[in-house]
């Protein structure tokens, strides 16, 4: 905490804070809790839409998906805990995001995990991958929420600071929506779930709001006690108990205990309700003796919720909790706000030693929750960027295209086979494809034949070159992924992973990325309904590449048949749908491509794309696939979005999955093989004329690529590989890298 911040607290209180009060401000005004460096910029994002029920600022964003069902979605980072203790860091990341979603009254239905590590030639990275994946598997499978997708990125910029993001989606009958608000003087704040221990104290401040700056970096053992420890069995019972309490209408407001623990939950619920709250620290069930008030109030012990109920319902609440073997303890009372000298109501958070005992701390709840200082930190485009942009990889020698293509193929199956991806019988398209597709169904939901689609996307290679355009292209890419399963994008959540905000270049990247996201979302009419900002992702003074991760939620009106997927048949015609060339100097940009990055060429420029054509293309693909999902006959047999690795990788991925080769004519330019920009799809069709007629009628560009069949993938004179080589290389790539000599 800075001297200025201390002075601000003195001004709020009109006196010097005591040690406990200072500690409360310390965690609540941390970067992680207060968004003090990013909040000014986040205001530029579009957040509204007629289907948006809850936008940013609550525990999760919520949209109306139709048929009386609301869908809640949230994304978070658990980067620093996972860097230190990968199993528990990742596991508690899953636990935390689930609580954010069932806090809204929604049953969590699916989780996705975008993961970023350094290169696997480094033994520590292999240890991190094993630990993080086991943590997600161990917690997610046991708690009973399927993990249906994610992303897996390896890049040296994450060597000292891996990223573990986690997204959760849940659904609820629209009328059950609840918010984290304390109301009604005399009502009770009941702490549900685990006892409070000394784990995770200072998680938001020690860990999440500082980089790994020392020589030890993430190996610093001193930070290990700030990592929380998770118990999925406790969480499972907590979910069921909370959903039952909500079903029975016993809960007026509910809030999870995540970062900053009890002080965060009590001050936020009181601030939202404009009321005061008395908290008795001695009432909080404790895991170990001798805990002091500061520890009890800021502990990040997992699997805890705070529910606001009326005193009349206390016995009934206790009964439900007893059945689920969940602890329920009254720890707070909702009290009248004070009236200040100007006649304003000020809800005070009072921490007491017994409800009638000594007042240990007394501060305005709102000052903790909403009134942290906001900083407009210095932003500066790094001057070194020009030289990077000028180093375009278009002059890179061609080399062996067959080998290059094989080196780009990675099947993430080793990861997702460890996740239960099917629970609840909703998973129509699971991990490892363009987007995940779920039936919109679950216990307690109204009957519907709708589907929801989810995709998480990021492209740090693009964003390092041009954070604004790179982020916009990432949004377009994600919308295209949803189109492959027939879904129309409805909402965006974001997890903005950046370096140290005190570095002007990082603040410039963050601000640019937010503008790029606003550009793309405005162009597509997409609201951003929630997000998370993770700063201080640095190690030894070096920041990670800017990594805005987006999670897109799409809806499909009628889902009775699976989308075509990647399985083409021998004899089908292959077409490239969408605009063939990017706009500007380079029609087939290689800057920021996976091909160039593997060659060690990290420079170059991105190209703009024609947004109007992209929109028409996506609408067309959505229509084609949604028709198939609705049970209509179609000549389309396979659809895949062209993304990382370009057209060559997209074709090879389809070959690997379908075990049928393809003969593709020479492309216009070598660069077209590996060039990456969104808005293009590989489509296989059994009736080329009929498909071409429909595309022309929709005003969507299309070019014939070749024919499916045979046992080889041949692309003009550049690629000639056997189906078996492609499939075996792709299947074994990750396991081979992970089993490298440690």
């Amino acid at each position: 905490m800075s001297d200025d911040e201390f002075a601000q607290i003195e001004a709020v209180l009109g006196r010097e804070p005591n040690d406990l009060e200072l500690a409360l401000y310390g965690v609540m005004w941390s970067e992680h809790c207060s968004y003090k460096s990013s909040r000014l910029h986040l205001r530029r994002l579009p957040t509204t839409g007629e289907h948006v029920l809850v936008g940013p600022g609550e525990n999760a964003g919520v949209i109306d998906a139709g048929d009386g069902i609301a869908v809640a979605i949230r994304i978070e980072s658990h980067n620093h805990p996972s860097a230190i203790e990968p199993y528990q860091g990742a596991a508690t990341g899953v636990g935390g995001i689930l609580r954010d979603v069932f806090t809204m009254g929604a049953r969590p239905l699916a989780v996705m995990d975008p993961l970023f590590f350094g290169e696997l030639s480094d033994a520590r990275q292999r240890w991190l991958v094993e630990g993080v994946v086991s943590g997600i598997s161990g917690y997610g499978n046991s708690v009973g929420v399927p993990t249906i997708g994610g992303e897996l990125t390896f890049d040296e910029c994450y060597s000292g600071n891996p990223l573990v993001n986690v997204l959760c989606v849940g659904a609820l009958p629209t009328e059950r929506l609840v918010l984290g608000i304390a109301s009604g003087v005399g009502n009770l704040a009941v702490l549900l779930g685990s006892r409070t221990g000394r784990d995770g104290i200072g998680g938001v401040s020690v860990l999440a709001s500082a980089g790994f700056s020392g020589e030890e970096g993430a190996l610093d053992d001193a930070k290990r006690p700030s990592v929380q420890v998770g118990d999925p069995y406790e969480e499972k019972r907590l979910i069921e108990a909370c959903l039952e309490l909500l079903d029975r209408g016993y809960v007026l407001g509910i809030q999870d205990l995540g970062g900053a623990g009890l002080v965060c939950a009590t001050s936020e619920t009181a601030a939202r309700g404009g009321v005061g709250m008395d908290v008795d620290v001695t009432a909080v069930p404790q895991r170990e003796p001798g805990m002091v008030p500061y520890e009890i109030m800021t502990s990040e012990s997992q699997e805890r919720m705070l529910a606001i109920i009326t005193p009349e319902n206390l016995e009934a609440v206790r009964e439900v909790c007893e059945r689920w073997e969940v602890r329920a303890t009254v720890v707070g009372h909702v009290v009248e706000p004070l009236i200040d000298d100007d006649g304003n109501e000020v809800g005070m958070l009072r921490i007491r030693d017994g409800f009638d005992g000594e007042v240990l701390a007394e501060v305005p709840a709102r000052s903790l929750a909403d009134e942290a200082p906001l900083y407009d930190r210095t932003r500066e485009r790094p001057s070194s960027l020009d030289a990077v942009l000028d180093d375009d990889p278009s002059n890179e020698p061609v080399g062996s295209t067959n080998e290059d293509l094989l080196s780009l193929l990675v099947d993430p199956g080793w990861v997702y086979r460890q996740y239960d991806s099917q629970l609840f019988l909703n998973t129509v398209v699971g991990p490892g494809r363009d987007a995940a597709l779920l039936r919109l169904a679950g216990p307690g939901l109204p009957v519907s034949t709708r589907g929801i689609a989810l995709s998480t996307d990021s492209n740090p290679r693009w964003c390092a070159l041009d954070p604004r355009l790179g982020t916009a292209l990432t949004i377009y890419e994600s919308v295209a992924n949803l189109a492959c399963v027939g879904a129309t994008a409805k909402a965006v959540v974001n997890c903005l992973n950046f370096g140290n905000p005190e570095h002007p270049s990082v603040m410039w990247q963050l601000s640019e990325a937010i503008d790029g996201m606003a550009d793309a979302c405005s162009a597509l009419g997409l609201p951003v309904i929630g997000g998370n900002v993770s700063l201080y992702n640095e190690s030894g003074g070096v920041d990670i590449d800017p990594t805005p991760v987006v999670g897109l939620l799409g809806v499909l009106d009628h889902l009775v048949a699976p989308p075509p997927g990647w399985n083409w048949r021998a004899g089908d015609a292959l077409v490239l749908v969408g605009v063939r060339r990017a706009v500007g100097e380079r029609s087939f940009p290689l800057g920021g491509s996976r091909w160039a990055t593997r060659r060690g060429r990290r420079g170059g420029r991105l190209s703009e794309i024609e947004v109007s054509t992209l929109r028409a293309t996506i609408d067309f693909v959505v229509g084609e696939v949604a028709g198939i999902c609705a049970g209509m006959a179609s000549d389309v047999t396979a659809v895949h979005d062209v993304s990382g690795g370009g057209i060559a990788a997209a074709l090879a991925e389809m070959v690997a999955v379908t075990s049928v080769g393809a003969q593709v004519a020479e492309l216009d330019d070598f660069a077209e093989l590996f060039s990456e920009f969104p808005g293009r799809f590989i489509v296989a069709t059994g009736d080329l004329d009929a498909f071409a007629t429909r595309a022309a009628a929709a005003g969507v560009p299309m070019v014939s690529l070749g024919t499916c069949g045979g046992e080889r993938l041949v692309i003009g004179s550049t690629v000639d590989l056997s189906v078996d080589d492609i499939a075996a290389t792709r299947r074994g790539a990750l396991e081979a890298a992970l089993s490298a000599l440690s």
Binding site: D420, S421, Q422, L423
Partner: protein, 222 residues
């Protein structure tokens, strides 16, 4: 109408899927809390997948002490149809209602993937409607699914037609490629794969139907 009880332990998580699966075949199914001591009035009982009591100690080790398990044992003794899926199979072996045990997978990794099974006996409440040698694609979803037993038990199981389902390609190191087995009377069965996850081509496979159809079919008690 056939009445099925789906037992819910704290930590179970496939109870709704099992319920939906048998309901879609016309059965009347009900969730039953693990403290229940009476299963009379039901025609069949399912112990669903999940992590009963958190799988603490080892899968099924605590669940066997849940009050409902005495009722399950009596129900089985009376010839009632008892089906343990995944964690439910683990519970049945721990409770001694089926022989052998389920160990950690050979690769020491959790595995969620489709598997192909062969029906190797139709003398059970789960496979009665299937045909011998029929291949079924049904997903597995477990960490501890490697079936083990001693030589003598294996010989007995082989000889008496109690091995009802075997993996075509063994995913987890199970002895004798065993995916599912029955007791001697054929009224208590356990299997690691999840037939309730294979009830519709929309979700990838409808091969689980023939198994659950057998289970919910009206029958005279053995």
């Amino acid at each position: 109408m056939t009445r099925i009880a789906v037992v819910v332990f704290p930590g179970s998580n496939c109870e709704y899927d099992a319920l939906t699966g048998v309901e879609s075949l016309g059965a009347d199914a009900e969730l039953v809390w693990h403290s229940t001591k009476d299963l009379s009035g039901f025609d069949g009982v399912i112990l669903p997948g999940g992590f009963a009591h958190g799988d603490y100690l080892r899968p099924g080790a605590l669940a066997r002490f849940s009050p409902v398990m005495d009722a399950v044992a009596r129900f089985a003794e009376d010839g009632g149809a008892v089906l343990g899926i995944c964690n439910g199979f683990q519970v049945l072996t721990e409770a001694g209602l089926l022989p052998g045990a389920l160990q950690k997978n050979a690769g020491l990794k959790f595995l969620c993937q489709p598997t192909t099974l062969t029906v190797t006996s139709t003398d059970s409440i789960l496979t009665a409607n299937a045909t011998l040698g029929q291949e079924l694609v049904i997903p597995i979803n477990h960490f501890s699914g490697a079936y083990v037993c001693d030589d003598e038990t294996l010989a007995r199981l082989e000889g008496s037609g109690q091995i009802i389902l075997r993996y075509v390609e063994n995913p987890n190191g199970s002895r004798g490629n065993i995916a599912g087995l029955a007791n001697e009377r054929g009224n208590v069965v356990g299997l690691m794969p999840h037939p309730e996850r294979a009830m519709s081509t929309l979700l990838g496979s409808a091969d689980g139907r023939v198994l659950l159809e057998s289970f919910v079919a009206p029958r005279v008690r053995a």
